[in-house]
């Protein structure tokens, strides 16, 4: 008797659920279809292409693990991986830290608050190519503004973009600068979600501003921060546009800045070796997967969802 009742219940429930599912899937179908056609299918194709050699126009030959064997032994790939990590390790902490500071400052009641918010958000509105061009002018060796200032205060001019010691630094500066706006807006939204009553309570208890920041602001903004860290990190690992625009291919410092995506571009679209290019991008995909998985695990230690 009991089991029969249960069965009956189950069927009834699943009927309702079925309709729920149908509608649910119908609603997300446009997005899912777009995702499959534009993202997932190319992902599979890229993975497949990495086992092939390409003669152009989609004419390919299966070469097994050849591309990966070459990849492991390729010093250029190793160098590009190191460059990518160097860039990421500089841009993520620096970018997130600075944007948190700006967000906290802009969250207070200062005069012209919205003007400042607009100014800091401006880099997001500008096209990356335009940003890179302007920074390239600033960094110019002979007539650049930065070197002009250096000369003005009696410092020697620096070949920012062409010496292997400073080229990556220049790219990092642009990377940090351009990531500030977006991160700042997201963090600001997170900060505004924190109830003011917490701060009032802390005030009564006699907590100073530093203590309030570390005991209230930081833990409560941590979910937003986690989001910002993950997106900045993935974006940094995929750095390409600033390098492409600011470092010419005749520049001898290119080897010490070129990232994995740059190398992928070079092989796939300049040398037309799409198979090897795909292998490089699959390598980057694995790196990003692993790092993101680690982050998702580690977040339990520092992200407070309540």
């Amino acid at each position: 008797m009991q089991t029969q009742l249960n069965k009956h219940k189950k069927i009834k429930l699943s009927k309702a659920k079925l309709s729920d599912y149908t509608w649910g899937y119908l609603m997300i179908a446009p997005t899912i279809l777009g995702l499959i056609v534009l993202n997932i299918w190319p992902l599979i194709q890229t993975f497949y292409l990495s086992f092939q050699s390409s003669a152009g126009f989609g004419i390919t030959k299966f070469v097994g693990l050849d591309n990966y064997k070459k990849l492991i032994a390729d010093p250029e790939v190793l160098k590009a991986t190191i460059n990518t990590f160097k860039y990421t390790l500089a841009v993520v902490p620096l970018g997130v830290f600075l944007s948190l500071i700006i967000a906290v400052l802009l969250n207070t009641n200062i005069k012209g608050k919205s003007l400042y918010r607009t100014i800091y958000f401006l880099p997001i509105i500008a096209a990356p190519a335009a940003i890179a061009m302007v920074w390239k002018w600033l960094f110019m060796s002979d007539f650049g503004l930065i070197n002009l200032i250096f000369k003005g205060v009696g410092l020697p001019a620096v070949n920012w973009l062409t010496s292997s010691g400073t080229a990556l630094f220049a790219i990092i500066v642009v990377g940090v600068w351009s990531s500030l706006g977006f991160n700042m807006i997201i963090l600001l939204a997170g900060l505004q979600e924190i109830p003011t009553s917490f701060y009032e309570a802390a005030d009564i208890d006699g907590a100073g501003p530093v203590r309030k920041f570390f005991k209230i602001t930081l833990p409560l903004v941590s979910p937003t921060m986690f989001f910002v860290v993950i997106t900045t990190l993935i974006g940094s690992l995929q750095v390409f546009d600033y390098i492409f625009m600011m470092i010419t291919k005749t520049n001898a410092a290119l080897g010490s800045v070129q990232s994995l995506v740059y190398l992928f571009y070079d092989y796939s679209f300049i040398q037309l070796n799409k198979g090897y290019g795909s292998a490089i991008i699959v390598w980057l995909f694995i790196i990003i997967m692993v790092i993101t998985a680690i982050q998702l695990k580690l977040q339990k230690k520092w992200v407070h969802y309540d």
Binding site: I59, S141, D142, I230, N273, K274
Partner: protein
Amino acid sequence: MKKSLKKLVAMTACSLMLSTALTGCSTKTPTSGSSASSPVTLTYAIWDVNQEPGMKAMAEAFTKKNPNIKVKVEVTPWDQYWTKLEAAGTGGALPDVFWMHSSNFDKYSNADMLLDLTDKIKTSTEVKLSNFPTPLVDLYANNGKNYGLPKDYDTICLWYNKDLFDNAKIAYPDSTWDWAKFLDVAQKLTDTSKGIYGYTANLDGQQGYYNFVYQNNGTILPDDKKTSGFSLPATKEAIQFYVDLSLKYKVSPTQEQFDGGMNAADMLKSGKVAMATYGSWMVADFKAAAQKDTTLHLGLAALPKGKTNATIYNGLGNVIANNSKHAQEAWKFVEYMGTEEANVIQANSGAAIPAFKNVDKGWIEATKEFDLSAYPAMLPISHIFAYSKSKPTWDPLQDKYLKEAFYGKTTVSDACDKIAKEMNAALATEK
């Protein structure tokens, strides 16, 4: 709320990761030719915006004769042109008619992307291959079949700033000049305190060191295309001379200065350099600069002589996509583009030196600002811009290794040996 934020994090992370892979996918461009029966619109893809008015004028003249066939000229900048065409070729959606370059011709003809024009040319009453210089015709022939008709050709000349020569009371360059005279004058005209240089020896093959290589009896790629010319002493010697111009004689900014933001062509346009070598396709650019800035007085002459007189030439061709839906109409257009009438229009527009023999006078006359006669005069002493099937593989090697020499970090000889080694490997894969 917090939970949904967590989801948002995960979803954004996922889609960002996926977009990494997305960059590996090439997009298909839709065909623009209509399937309608009577009026046909052909797509004509080109890469030089300076030549767009000229190409449009030719297309309009063609439509006047064939009212049923319209031609849409599509400009894609050089850097994206080949990427776009390859994607279009993969998707079977190439433009009906498009410009072809010698560096890419073998790849396209070997992959069966181009329509074989051999028989069409033979039976044509309007075009004859003998109207064009043979090397230009051969550029677009593969295994005895013609896939394209020559459109234009280009050579390299020496440009100079007349005012800088006048101020220093030095006679303008002429065809009697050799390397020694060139270097001597370049040294006299260099005044780094004013930021003025004698020459711009930037890392550029076709408009730069290639010319010096052939003037020194060296080569980039021997005629048999089996081994690299970079290991030859004559080639190395010429490149050494070219590199010395900036590093040793200091008559040119260094490549490091160019990469740091200096622009060689801008220097010529702003009177910061006395001499520079440029291809005929740059004429439109300098013409516009001279019109804008009336204090700029430029002239041009033949390249100085090394052991011999030499320059690099190259020419574009008009080709038809093998799977064009309007192959008949496309051929009519290409055929017309190969006639004297069309070449005269091209010449008068000043777009490019027409490939049709003896029509170049119109091109010279179309420009009043400079005497361009030096360009066509270089053709008899010119060498074809080196090309082979594996050029996409070996072409980047030159910049990759030579830049170390141009920065003075390694010797020219070492850099050339490295290029030769990898270039030989690439050439060996050709069959």
